[in-house]
């Protein structure tokens, strides 16, 4: 659905060229929830705004449904933006309009619907985001979560195929964040809506996204399925973000900090596995099949979006041969293992 090819953006600041995006290449599929994560100033906001040309790229192409939007004239750009919804960190609602007025605004100012059709669409959207009884309130009378719901309804008014989320939950408390993420996931499934979001919170990526790209210094440093990137972060920035959102994973990635070395006798091994294998009695199987003994030092079984996963930090004791046998068994179950020390 979206293809970004060799996208670059440079700004002129005080006569100097500052590079915000550098040779970005991405492909995002229809109905996919794609996350872009990075620290502030990494270029994620510029990248997201290149998808509806709120930022004009300096070089490269952005293809949506096969068409290069960077070449669009004004009328085609307006038409494109009506098909691409956007929600914002600070909601950006019109304070002078009611909730219903805000949702009606894109319909009224861009669409060709009659007043009655618009009213029906507004009612439908209000019901979708659960704000039917707040239709005549002004944004100032709403909570942050309610404001973002209005933002979502407004973004969906013209039935877009693509929704861009600019740090949509960063101004919300954790509980409200979860409810907004659930709403976005519902919408994604209900309408097969493609969602591209930027965030600096790993938790948002874990809850919502299918794939993720990590951006740093205007470049994509790592990308892939969320579970893979999350369980096997390669780049220091990714590792830092995983560590911040999930101390357990951080400890397992770097057990030297978490455990007293003198207490450890055997080989430290980290196992990770995804999907149905999570429900299999792997450890008891290994215990029965090999003479090696193991201690579980740390472990987590959870899910990323809908994908169950597990990760275990084991201390293996036994002869080299025993341990080789353990690894062979793990390979047989397609369980990823790495020796940490």
């Amino acid at each position: 659905m979206i293809r970004i090819e060799q996208l670059s953006k440079t700004f002129r600041v005080d006569g100097r060229e500052v590079s915000a995006l550098n040779d970005i290449n991405l492909e995002i599929g229809k109905g996919e929830v794609f996350g872009i994560i990075g620290r502030s100033g990494a270029g994620k906001s510029t990248l997201l705004r290149s998808l509806n040309l709120l930022e004009r790229p300096t070089a490269g192409r952005v293809l949506i449904d096969g068409e290069d939007i960077t070449g669009f004239d004004r009328s085609r750009l307006y038409a494109l933006r009506q098909r691409v919804g956007m929600i914002f960190q600070h909601f950006n609602l019109l304070n002078a309009k009611t909730v219903a007025g805000n949702i009606d605004w894109p319909l009224k100012s861009t669409g060709s619907l009659s007043a009655a059709q618009r009213a029906a669409r507004v009612a439908e959207l209000l019901a979708l985001v659960g704000l039917a009884e707040h239709a005549h309130k002004y944004p100032a009378q709403l909570s942050g979560g309610q404001k973002q719901r209005v933002g979502i309804a407004r973004a969906l008014a013209n039935r877009p195929q693509l929704l861009l989320c600019d740090e949509a939950t960063s101004a919300l408390d954790p509980e409200t964040t979860q409810s907004i993420l659930r709403l976005l996931l519902d919408i994604n499934r209900q309408f097969d809506l493609t969602i591209v979001l930027i965030t600096h919170e790993m938790q948002v990526i874990r809850t919502l996204c299918d794939r993720v790209a990590v951006i740093d210094g205007g470049r994509i440093v790592e990308s892939g399925r969320v579970a893979d990137v999350f369980l096997h972060p390669q780049h220091p920035v990714t590792r830092g973000m995983v560590a911040q959102s999930d101390p357990l994973t951080a400890a397992m990635l770097d057990p030297g900090h978490a455990f007293a070395k003198d207490k450890l006798r055997g080989t430290l091994v980290r196992l990770t596995y995804l999907g149905d294998i999570t429900y299999q009695p792997i450890l008891s199987h290994i215990a029965a099949a090999t003479p090696a003994r193991f201690t579980i030092l740390q472990g987590e079984v959870s899910s990323i979006k809908d994908l169950p996963f597990g990760q275990l930090l084991l201390e293996l004791e036994g002869s080299d041969d025993d341990i080789r046998k353990v690894f062979a068994e793990l390979d047989r179950f397609e369980i990823h293992h790495e020796v940490l020390q």
Partner: protein, 220 residues
Amino acid sequence: MIDLSMIEWGDIAFATWETLVMTGVSLLFTVLLGLPLGILLFVTASGQLLEQPGVYRVLSFVVNVLRSVPFLILLIVMIPVTVLLIGTSLGVEGAIPPLVVGTSPLFARLVENVLREVDRGVIEACQAMGVPTHRIIFGALLPEAMPGLIAATTVTAITLMSYAAMSGVIGGGGLGDLAIRFGYQRFQTEVMVITVALLVMLVQFIQHAGDRLVLYFTRK
């Protein structure tokens, strides 16, 4: 000791009426001229909706020039123009053109500042929805800025009222004219006191009414 028996109350009532007419009519034309000018200043500034640095510089320069002429000088300089426009430079009518020219640049600048206060994100959201620029300006920007625009209009109305009084110097009508001819030239202190008191009351009233309107349009 102030002796109120000397006062011609009819004259004072008529002068008050004239002041209100001068202020009201000038305010109308000031808004008609200054609002578009202020919007133009805002949208052509760099980084804004219709960025045109050249246009902005010219407009901004003209506004600054007009604002740097002291109003009393402007009153005198404008006399030939006023005669050309409406046939006389005297009375209520004669005062209106210099009042409009004197306050429109001020109002335009106030409008520009008010519009700059509108959340940039709201405009960006409208752009992201594919709303054409003219609809953003009239459908979103101006309604969002309404309380500020009313406050700016209030300030301008009060400035106009004091300028209108000043136009009495060159033969404009109203309370200023009364204060100069009777209060100053004929040493009737009572007239001076009463005109000043009336001006104070009028200004209080305008400010109060403006504040009420701002409150009415504020949705925060």
